[in-house]
């Protein structure tokens, strides 16, 4: 317990769900308040601004569809990262694994010659496999050679970025693109269907939700899930229990990387229909998904909610750009504020704050009362 002015801070090990939810909502409200100051400073009435954003995102079918479209890659990458974070495997490489999936799907779409009904399943299969392999390399390096997973997964992103650049400028450069750095467009058989009057490639969304449910089941009900949780809680206990580290790490990264790979398939087969510059294939989805997973606090189902939240933030950014005519940098400031407060209030979850006049509450008794 710590004293801070008239306040007493008490450590809380596992915050109750109500506290987690309440504190998270508080963070968003605080961010909106500071955002209001920024809007006002720019000469835009904050009420008008928020009303416009709400109306254009949550208040219209079009807006809701835009949120869903942005949610898809964040959900798939986010669920994968939840799994790896549960095992204390710090996968910062979802971006590269996503791109690996996009590359594999492109290869299958352009060069395999697989006929119509099987082409899309084959693209998803290849994308999962490529993402999984790209994710399992750092897992192998970590267990066998003690290479730091944060560094290796991050570095693998850059390798994949340059592989994509090389492909679109070199062997896969499309003859129909008149020298520009794109592959040719996929045949229509390799295009994902969209929800009517939207850009939501729904098969990928369905896969994402299914992945979240399955991941929750695997973590809660299976032997692998049990091993993942033990490894995540205590490495020593896991060793003592005879859990095979290599097997668990590879399995975790197979799923984590594979799911990110599926997100990459969705982006190229659902939106672009070709392979292009890596910064255009992924709008840093692999990195944003780290925050999605982190806010989901180990629950794959919660990742559905947190990825929707970030889908909303991205869609709101577009509204700020177009309807409110504010410079695009404001979008970044706005998104940053929400993150800043979400992470900033973390403290409140793990510390109970009590008002207590000086001199009282110095005993553990006073502090623990009421719990």
């Amino acid at each position: 317990m710590k004293r801070f002015g008239p306040f007493l801070l008490e450590r809380r090990l596992a915050p109750p769900r109500g506290v987690v939810l309440g504190v998270s909502v508080l963070a968003v409200v605080l961010a909106l308040l500071v955002g209001a100051v920024i809007f006002a400073g720019y000469g835009v009435d904050p009420w008008h601004a928020y009303a416009t954003i709400a109306k254009s995102t949550l208040g219209s079918r079009y807006g809701l569809m835009e949120i869903l479209r942005r949610t898809i890659p964040l959900l798939l990458c986010g669920v994968g990262l939840v799994i790896s974070f549960r095992a204390q495997f710090w996968n910062i490489g979802a971006e590269g694994q996503l791109l690996a999936g996009a590359v594999a799907a492109t290869g299958v779409a352009l060069f395999s010659g697989i006929p119509r009904p099987w082409l899309l399943p084959a693209m998803f299969g290849a994308g999962f496999l490529a993402g999984a392999i790209w994710g399992m390399i750092p897992a192998f390096l970590k267990v066998k050679l003690k290479v730091n997973d944060v560094i290796s997964t991050l570095m693998m992103n850059y390798i994949m970025i340059y592989i994509v650049e090389w492909l679109i400028h070199g062997p896969w450069k499309g003859p129909t693109m008149r020298g520009f750095a794109y592959t040719d467009t996929f045949s229509k058989a390799g295009w994902l269907p969209l929800l009517p009057l939207s850009r939501v490639h729904w098969p990928t969304l369905v896969i994402g939700v299914a992945a979240a449910v399955l991941a929750a089941l695997v973590l809660a009900r299976t032997r692998l899930g049990y091993e993942v949780r033990v490894v995540g809680e205590s490495e020593g206990a896991a060793r003592y229990a005879g859990i095979n580290f290599l097997r668990v790490s590879l399995a975790v990264m197979l799923l984590s990387g594979g799911l990110a790979g599926l997100a990459g398939v969705g982006e190229v087969a659902g939106i672009h229909h070709k392979l292009l510059s890596p910064t255009q294939v992924s709008m840093n989805y692999g990195y944003t998904a780290i925050i999605v997973a982190w806010l989901a606090r180990g629950s794959p189902l919660a990742a559905i909610v947190t990825s929707l939240l970030f889908g909303l933030i991205f869609a709101a950014g577009d509204v700020i750009k177009v309807s409110l005519r504010m410079p695009f940098q404001v979008t970044g400031v706005f998104n940053g504020l929400i993150l800043f407060f979400l992470i900033g209030v973390e403290l409140l979850m793990y510390w109970r704050v009590k008002l207590s006049p000086k001199g009282e509450g110095w005993t553990g008794k006073a502090g623990s009362s009421g719990s």
């Binding site: 070199g170 008149r178 520009f180 750095a181 982006e267 910064t279 577009d318 695009f328």
Partner: protein, 384 residues
């Protein structure tokens, strides 16, 4: 209720017709980069602001930093806001523009730098290759080491065309000079541009040109005492003693022409299938200069006048006069010269433009070869 809805629709339609009859245009611009990039998107936005001031029948809106794959979303939003003309200003927006043109047959579209058109979607481009050629003549006259450095963005036909035209100009003034090329694989990356420029300095280059959306190469060259040519926007201010000339774009020339013709009813949503602007010096879409109106920085005039070329067509002529003659040949309405006038050989010895011929626009926008005098890697070079 249904009758009321019909009535509302009729009123809205009538209102729309009235608005069209008055010729009011609301034009939306979709930019790929931030308007503060000092390059491509900046230049398009300058033109938009200029015309917004110029025409009282024109209202404009824009969206910046739009990623590829999302232009369609923003087109939807601009149409919902009432835009009846939409400009998409990046090659990567091509398919989304054509798809949107089919979705909104009443809206007029124009796509910059692409090659797909529709009855309600035109294409346009302001190209620099003549300007680069004239810069090349100056560079060839000013180099002491015989090595000129070029920092290139991407090895795509547009940039290759410009380096080739530049090199042809260099060799016309200085048949033994070489143009050393380094690629940075980014349109905007000051750090990479600096690294590439320093590597070229280490190779012995003493004059610089580039394709990158920042003044970095100009600044790095000037810090080391070397001269350079500005790119895309006026860059004289970044090194007044070291910027010889450069390439300046005037997108407003194309936008003015296009929007005026829409306003006058000459361009409609039905007759744009073959409207393709490929505008150069003679249409005023591009300019040779360190700054608007300053074709050659006065600091370098004497040096260029003192540099005498033994020219196959003009005999003994100074570099300064050659630039002026060639400029007039290309800037006059009846163009009488093209930098790629044959014979042009690539650096592998193949004849790529036959004697006396000019390449077609199609050849120019798809060319992959490098002319004699280009030194360095050239991804996608024919015959590899």
């Amino acid at each position: 209720m249904r009758r009321f809805a019909v009535l509302v629709l009729m009123v809205m339609t009538a209102f729309g017709l009235v608005a069209l009859a008055e010729g009011e245009i609301k034009a939306g611009f979709i930019y790929v980069g931030p308007i503060g990039d000092y390059g491509w998107s900046f230049a398009h936005n300058e033109a938009r602001e200029m015309l917004d001031q110029e025409f009282d029948w024109l209202e404009t809106v824009y969206v910046e930093s739009v990623p590829e794959g999302q232009a369609g979303t923003f087109i939807d939003q601009l149409v919902a806001q009432g835009c009846n003309v939409i400009f998409t200003t990046s090659f990567g927006f091509m398919d989304e523009t054509i798809e949107a043109a089919a979705r909104y047959p009443d809206v007029i579209f124009a796509h910059c730098s692409g090659f797909k058109r529709a009855p309600n979607s035109a294409t346009y481009m302001a190209d620099f290759y003549q300007v680069y050629y004239l810069n090349g003549i100056m560079a060839g006259a000013l180099t002491k080491s015989g090595k000129i450095g070029y920092v290139g963005a991407f090895p795509i036909p547009e940039v290759k065309r410009h380096i080739n035209a530049f090199t042809i100009g260099v060799r016309e003034a200085n048949p033994d000079a070489e143009v050393h090329v380094k690629w940075i694989y980014e349109w905007f990356n000051p750090a990479a541009a600096k690294e590439a420029a320093e590597a070229l300095i280490a190779e012995g280059c003493d004059v610089f040109a580039f394709t990158e959306d920042s003044p970095t190469v100009v600044q790095v060259a000037a810090e080391n005492g070397f001269v350079s040519f500005g790119h895309y926007t006026p860059m004289y201010q970044f090194a007044p003693d070291k910027v010889v000339s450069g390439q300046i774009v005037h997108w407003e020339a194309i936008y003015r022409d296009f929007l005026t013709k829409v306003h006058q009813g000459l361009y409609t949503n039905e007759n744009l299938q073959h409207v393709d602007y490929w505008w150069l010096l003679s249409q005023g879409a591009v300019e040779v200069g360190a700054e608007p109106g300053m074709m050659i920085n006065p600091v370098f005039k004497d040096d260029l006048k003192a540099y005498i070329i033994d020219h196959p067509t003009f005999g003994e002529i100074s570099a300064y006069d050659l630039v002026m003659v060639r400029h007039n040949q290309m800037a006059d309405p009846g163009v009488t010269f093209d930098p790629f006038q044959g014979p042009v050989y690539d650096r592998k010895g193949n004849l790529v433009v036959p004697e006396g011929m000019w390449p077609s626009v199609d050849t120019l926008i798809t060319l992959e070869w490098a002319v004699e005098g280009v030194v360095g890697p050239w991804p996608g070079e024919p015959g590899e």
